[in-house]
Each structure stands twice: as C-alpha cells, then as structure tokens.
C-alpha cells in the first residue's frame, strides 16, 4: 500500500448526500478481475451522457457538462468533499479503487458508510470526518475560489486552508500508523500466528461442529 503523509491538493466538491458505491462505480465495471483501470469510470452515470460498457474507449464518450467534476477547474483534484453517508450501499472496494485511480487520495465528509470507510484505509486513501458546519463552510469556499487547495497532514491530523486556517481531525491510531507507514494488514496479522492458533485450538474444543473434517 502507498504511504500517506502530507498532501497539498486541489479540492473538488460533490454536493449531495448518500453518494452510494453504485454511483461511484457502476456495476458493469465490476466484471473486471483487476484492481486497476477503474478511474475513467468513476461516477460514470453522472460523468457521461451516453451509457458505457467495459472495454470501451471512454475518452470518446460525451461528457456531461453539468457534472461538477467535469469542470476544468477541478481537473487534477486529489481531495473530494462529500456529504452525509458517503459511500453507502454495496461493499465493492472497486469504489475506492476508482477514486484512487482517478487521483483522489482524500475524501472529506460529515459521515461515511462503515464498509467504504474501512476500504479506504486498505488502499492508501484517507477518509476524514468533519462537522457538518465546517463542511458547509468548505463547500462555500471551494465553490467561491478557483484553484482552492487544502494541505492535509496526517501526522499532525490537520487540514490547512489557503487562508492559513488550521482544522484538526480525528483518526484511529492503528489506521494512522498503517497509512503513515504503508503497512500491509495481512503481514501485521501474521505476526500473531501463535495467538490465532491458540484461539483455534480452544474453539475446536468448545465448538467442534464449527470445524470441518480435516
């Protein structure tokens, strides 16, 4: 996993609640057996006017001029602002792969769905929860000011606005540690092999029906 420490990135606003993972990456693209290449289909139904299918040359499709991320001022954005319940619905990790493939490393919202939130950390994407009032202000500032950037410092757990205002955020200690160091969860868990085996032995005694005949 790619490390995350400090990012100074362009901010794009997606001003609607309950953005679900079906909207982030529609189902036809889930047929891929790869982890990469989902970027061109991020928000596919909103982004293009014509329907898309996997394998198509998406650069030839008609862009929806009304979709906010199609505005030239947001090209190259790395930080996405969202609203309540961002990433709800399907557990598809493809949603995070699509965001990451399209260049986003940070999503800021007043609330995230649990599975999406978790999936972000597994892919070097930082989800940040801020109060709805602060979100309202950030949305207003981003829309008012072209080229609006935020500096995200994970170590310090802070955001810095162009005006120099510093906004703190919470992040789980363990997740922060993994993200800062680009650590692979499986490797960490396998450090506890003995404990897992001991648990398994106990469990096999207590509830043998949970174990197949092997």
């Amino acid at each position: 996993m790619e490390k995350f420490s400090v990012l100074n990135g362009l901010v794009a606003p997606l001003d609607r609640p309950n953005v679900d993972t079906d909207a982030i990456i529609p189902k036809q693209y889930l047929k891929s057996v790869k982890r990469t290449g989902f970027g061109p289909n991020l928000f596919d139904d909103w982004r293009y006017l014509d329907p898309g299918e996997p394998g198509q040359d998406h650069s030839q499709r008609r862009l929806n001029p009304d979709f906010v991320l199609n505005q030239p001022r947001y090209a190259g954005a790395q930080i996405l602002l969202g609203r309540e319940n961002f990433g709800c619905g399907s557990s598809r990790e493809h949603a995070v792969w699509a965001l990451e493939d399209a260049g986003f490393r940070v999503v800021i919202a007043p609330g995230f769905a649990d599975i999406f939130f978790n999936n972000c950390f597994k892919n070097g994407v930082l989800p940040i929860v801020l109060d709805a009032e602060i979100m309202d202000r950030l949305f207003a500032e981003v829309e008012a000011c072209e080229g609006y950037r935020l500096k995200v410092d994970l170590e310090a757990q802070s955001l810095t606005t162009p005006a120099g205002e510093v906004i703190g955020f919470e992040v789980d200690e363990f997740r922060k540690y993994c993200l800062l160091n680009g650590l692979d969860d499986i490797g960490l868990t396998l450090q506890h092999v003995d404990e897992i085996r001991a648990y398994e032995e106990r469990r096999r005694q207590q509830a043998p029906w949970l174990f197949g005949a092997e």
């Binding site: 001003d15 609607r16 609640p17 309950n18 679900d20 079906d22 909207a23 529609p26 189902k27 036809q28 889930l30 047929k31 891929s32 057996v33 790869k34 982890r35 139904d45 996997p54 609203r83 309540e84 319940n85 709800c88 619905g89 399907s90 557990s91 598809r92 990790e93 493809h94 995070v96 609330g111 769905a113 649990d114 599975i115 978790n118 999936n119 597994k122 892919n123 709805a132 789980d172 200690e173 363990f174 969860d185 499986i186 868990t189 396998l190 506890h192 404990e195 897992i196 648990y199 398994e200 469990r203 207590q206 509830a207 043998p208 029906w209 949970l210 174990f211 197949g212 005949a213 092997e214």
Partner: protein, 474 residues
Amino acid sequence: MGAKTLYDKLWEAHRVREDADGTALIYIDRHLVHEVTSPQAFEGLRLAGRTLWRRDSVLAVPDHNVPTTQRRDGVAGIADPVARIQVETLDRNCTDFAITEFHMDDARQGIVHVIGPEQGATLPGMTVVCGDSHTSTHGAFGALAFGIGTSEVEHVLATQCLIQKKSKNMQVRVEGDIGTGVTAKDLVLAIIGAIGTAGGTGYAIEFAGSAIEALSLEGRMTVCNMAIEAGARAGMIAVDQKTIDYIKGRPFAPGGEQWDAAVEYWRTLVSDEGAEFDRIVTLDAGLIRPQVTWGTSPEMVVAITGVVPDPEAETDSVKQSGMRKALDYMQLMPGTPITDIQLDRVFIGSCTNSRIEDLRAAASVASGRKVAANIKQAMVVPGSGLVKRQAEAEGLDRIFIEAGFEWREPGCSMCLAMNADRLQPGERCASTSNRNFEGRQGGGGRTHLVGPAMAAAAAVAGHFIDIRELDEPV
C-alpha cells in the same frame, strides 16, 4: 461481568486479541465467496506467495453474473465474455485452492445469502463474512455476519481473522401484532424510514420485540438483509426454537452428539435481561402498513396509502436538495398518490425476497389473475436451485407462468443488473430487492422497493395497489 447483549457475546467469543486502543483481531468461522469481489483477493494471495488458512471455512458460488435464462451450457452459456471470465476465474481459484464451490449447473447454486442458510453453512454463534454488504442477512440466525471489502476477503483467506473495532449496540424493537398484508419487508422498510440510511452507522443492530419473534426465519432474513440499508454492517436476531428447527438436518449442520452440544450453546445466544444498548428504537407493528419507496435511497419510503412527499416541507437544506434530485430522477411530482404510479416492469427476487415463503406470497396473489397489459415484463427469479425445485414441486411455477410472469433460473439478476436482466432508461419497476439507487437495475431505470405480495399485486394492476384492497380473482 454484568448482562450482555447478543452482539457482546458474539464479539467476545471470537476475539483472538485486543490492543489497548480497542483494535481487535476477530476470528472468522464462515467465509462465503462469490465471483465479483474475490478475484483480486486470490490474485493478492498468489502475488504474496500466501496460502489459505482454513479451506473448510470457505464456501463459494457464482451468483451476480450468471444468466437466468438457461443453465444447460454452464459457464459457456454466459454470453458476455467479460462476465464469463469472472465466473471462470472463480472456478479456477476454487480448484487451485481446493475450495468447495457450487457451480453454475449445480442444483445447490443460488444467491450467496440464500444458499448459506439453506445448506446449514450459516449457524448460530458463527462469525460469517462475505465480500458483499448483504451478508447481514445471516444475522437472522444469531450469528455475527457482515460484509467486507476485497482487501478483507484476502485478509480472511490468509489469516482467518479480521482487524476490527467493536461497534456500538443498538436494539430495534418492533412490538405488537403485524397487520394483515404486512410482511417482514414492510417492517424493515419502515425501520429504515424511521432511523434513516445512516441511522445504524457504527452500530450492530439487534432486531427484537414480539413482531420480530413472530416472523419465520425467512422473514427474519429479510429484515437482517436490509440492516445495511440502515447503515449497520451487522443485523442480528436472537436464537429461539424456530432458529433451531430451521437448521436441523441441513447438509452442513452438525449431527449426532455434536447437535445436542451445539443446541445447548445456541440457546445462550440471546441478549441478557437488563443488557445495555447504546441506542434503543421502538416501533409499533400495528401502525406499519405495506411500504413503497418513492426515491433513490431506501429511507425515501412511504406507506401505500400515502403520497409522494414534498421537498418544500423539508427543513434540512441538504436533505431537501437530495429529495429534489431524487424526484427529478424518478420523474415524480410531490403529492402524487402512490397508487397512481404506473409501472413498466416487476422483479420478484434478490437475497431480500427470493425464498420459498416469498414466492408463495407472490404466487398467492398471482393465482387466477393476469399481469396487466402495460407491464412489459414481470419476472420471478428464485434465490437458489433448491428454492426453484421446491416451488416447482408446489406448482408455483405454473401459477406464475399462467398469470404471465417469467419463471427464471436462480441468481442476483435484476437486483443489480450485472447480467442481461435490466431496466431500460426511464423504465419504472416494482422490485422486491433492497436498493433503489440511481441506475441500480439498469442505467436510467427507476426502482420502487416493495414486498413480494405487493410486487405481484402491482404486476396484476399495472400500478401500485394496496394488497389489502385487492379484489377476489375473477
């Protein structure tokens, strides 16, 4: 320690270790796998040179991409080459890692959340995971069951564990008698309407109360299935005699002496008297009427007797703009009676409502009636090959076909439209599935979620109709 909730008990029974900050390693008993969210996980294992920790815990089935028209040709019968590769990839991974898989032409094949319980592969007291958010379904058996992402699928394959922090406890109590024509689907839609799609975020929800206890296991699965639509990763219901009776004799269930020991343990899987919940929500079952969603989020739901709501009446500005967007997408006017909404298609199926009881409820409405002329297609997709076989033994297929419904092979089908079953842009569908998101059933398609009898009634009437006011068949 004092009184514990069901969730507390399940959590503690599976905790391998816990750090001071609450980050825990949780042991997983059952891992269900399907074709869409697993290929990258197996690939990850291979790339890292890792092996499977415990292959007897894994059960695999292709369900999302499979065609529902015919099964004779097996995988070769999948017309879409990209989808075919995905199912072939699952087959190959299961062969390589020696995992039990119900192949496309196996009578036991079906939607992953239907076949787990049907096989007795889901048992009380288990932790059950799957790379699919509706894994909450299995909580109906007093199990701790939740959806995971693909990285976590790989993590469980490699370590049999997950890294997690404990959720908060919520209890949703539905008390009183359920009215005629009201089903488990209506209860859960009403619950989501009451607490909102983010209401359960950060919680594990236990559904309780006399109306929940009165439900069959099929009904309880319908309720737990949609816990995720209320934002909760896990939904669960305490074990009672019905749970135990349901499991007895199923292929993966314990037998002999182990059965008695298991039952003794399972009976402890209830919240203790006086256990504390972080939040309790109580609904009166007697006030719940058949429900229909009007918008693009499951919380946008009203009773069949209601009207499409007016965003003007909403005071929260973010919610108000969300409602406007939803109405625009759904092409509905505020104030329209729900019973005036005309439909193009009807879908009866999905892991929410494709079990035998659901098909019986729909068939009882379809019996002696005909699908209305304005309905282009009304489709019944059983949840598994075994559900299909049972329905055919009861003659339900004949009832549906005579009424003008299509009788299909099992799979996810038009619940998410990854296969050929889908809505065309602008089409409106009454669906027994669980998500009414934009484009969920096909780009530009408009979905209204309902229970199975309400869906069948809508097919017959051509528009939504209160199941309680359906005339006798002619």
